[in-house]
Symmetry: C2
Subunit: 171 residues, 2 copies
Amino acid sequence: MSLSMSSASLPVLQTMLNNLSHILAKGQAFAEARKIDPTALLQYRMAPDMLPFTRQIQIACDMSKLGVARIAGVEAPKFDDNEASFADLRGRIQKTLDWLATVPAAQIDGTEDKEITFPVGREATRTMKGEAYLKHWVLPNVFFHVTTAYLILRHNGVELGKADYLAGAQA
Amino acid sequence: MSLSMSSASLPVLQTMLNNLSHILAKGQAFAEARKIDPTALLQYRMAPDMLPFTRQIQIACDMSKLGVARIAGVEAPKFDDNEASFADLRGRIQKTLDWLATVPAAQIDGTEDKEITFPVGREATRTMKGEAYLKHWVLPNVFFHVTTAYLILRHNGVELGKADYLAGAQA
């Protein structure tokens, strides 16, 4: 085994998305057991000017999908941002995982020095080499949004532990 | 440029620790400007059974330090967990960065299949191969604790944005 652009990206993203889905399942079960309106969790923000829970999941999915698509030079499917429940959001994660599984590792490998230009905010773009884009943009962003989703649920009383974040359903 | 165990670890950890130090500087300035007792932030927990801010920083440092030490097969320095201020915590980060800079890349490279046994909790150990340990343990943990520290400050009113998390003082 040796590190490559595919082995440094796909398994990490897939593991974290699977763990995120597991974390959402716990959030859903918590809301059902307590008869809590799920919207209270789905729209919760860690700060008034931060994005709500639902957007954290959408962005974790899109950063994984678009990150790999840009590195591999393939087209990613477009998903509408219309999820309104934990089940919808878990569906979004599954669609993302299903698509990631179709990207051949060979298409991702050897892209360390490939220049990748991507949008930043609404008007700017940024260009990074493939390896830096993966290590300093895609991975930090995906981990950020998975952790934020975890903390929103944790902060609201869902019983979660580090094992849920690190190992998900395999914990 | 091609991916290796050193290039997939050191620059990622170093970048995130530098960004964390920058985030702490913003937290410190916020507390000073508002005449807030820094302890209110340093001891803040996202949930009553989560670790406080100070521990998030200590663990981000130690996971970086011990992760690299175990992968490289070198001894890491021991730091006492006695930080009582933002400045102390930034010092801990700097000591960690100073030590990471002394670990030769060649000592880290080629360890993809090396078996690494590490403590989990107080009584158990776990064994993973070097590549999996880096990708599925060290990096997810470091990102988790950096993000948690960021969110604790953000949740408490410190003006932080994604650029602080991704690029720190270079933003």
